[in-house]
Subunit: 147 residues, 2 copies
DNA sequence: TGTTAGTTGGAAATAATTATCATTAAGGGA
DNA sequence: TCCCTTAATGATAATTATTTCCAACTAACA
């Protein structure tokens, strides 16, 4: 996991560099995204911030995520059930392993992915820009409970 | 690509086996899914069928897709922009390469995927049940146009 | 400190999907 | 073949997630 403080600084700097203002609301959202160990949802972020910032609007959370996403500083994880969750700590595409019971998300290390990307590019003649790789299953905790 | 006729028979038989009635509407939907070379959307399927079957309801298309999905006979491709498209010809999870310009979808052959699944299982201790692998990029046709 | 353009909050609009409910019809049994 | 039961359908309303609108506000810079 990247250092949340550094990620925070990087995202804020990128916002400045692109001429965006740094508001308290924006700071609060970026802070959560920079940590985002648990891959929070929009709703989740909104609820967290409302504790200290009761007037925070849901629209503002959406707006900022769209903005930060457009700067490439947060990764959107769209799941088959239609829910979206976010990773601002590791914003580059990377594989996920998701437990369908407890919704836990783990980031595995997979060396073979880069090679696979090349394989796809040469087979299809596409210029590959992005990818998404998710595994769904049951984590060891939930497997143990099942008994 | 699997033989559309065979896929059609398989899906219909599975519906029968599970005690579902075979209606004209259902037949029309299954027919399109069994071909589904172009990975149609719900809207797309609805429009196609309405040509010959003007009373076909959008709700019926949704209902049948949910049903056939629950029988494991159609694969739902959920895209980052929120759109869903369907593959009833190859219903098992398989990689896709999607052109972000023209929305073309290609199915590449990737031998290394099975091995990757094992790698993930042993690294995370998950029981892997399902996966999703999509590459996004620009196809050779659109690359040529860009000039 | 004043100006200005980007940002916010709250509500309304939008889009995709699901639920509701009265009506219809598939398919098994008499 | 004709009922009868029950699932399926069509049309619409409800739901959910996200986006847009707009008036009021404020960060940033001179």
């Amino acid at each position: 996991m990247a250092d949340p403080k550094k990620r925070f600084e990087i995202i804020i700097q990128k916002l400045r560099d692109n001429g965006h203002k740094i508001t308290p609301q924006r700071l609060a959202i970026v802070k959560i995204l920079a940590e985002s160990e648990d891959h929070p949802s929009v709703e989740n972020i909104h609820v967290q911030i409302k504790k200290d910032f009761p007037t925070m609007s849901l629209a503002t959370v959406y707006r900022n995520i769209v903005l930060i996403k457009s700067l490439g500083e947060v990764l959107e994880l769209g799941f088959p059930d239609g829910s979206n969750r976010y990773d601002g700590n590791k914003p580059n595409p990377h594989p996920h392993v998701i437990c369908i019971k407890c919704k836990k998300i783990v980031d595995p290390d997979l060396d073979s992915l880069d090679e696979m990307k090349k394989e796809v590019a040469s087979e299809t003649n596409f210029e590959i820009l992005n990818h998404r790789l998710d595994f769904f299953g049951i984590c060891s905790d939930c497997l143990a409970e099942k008994v």
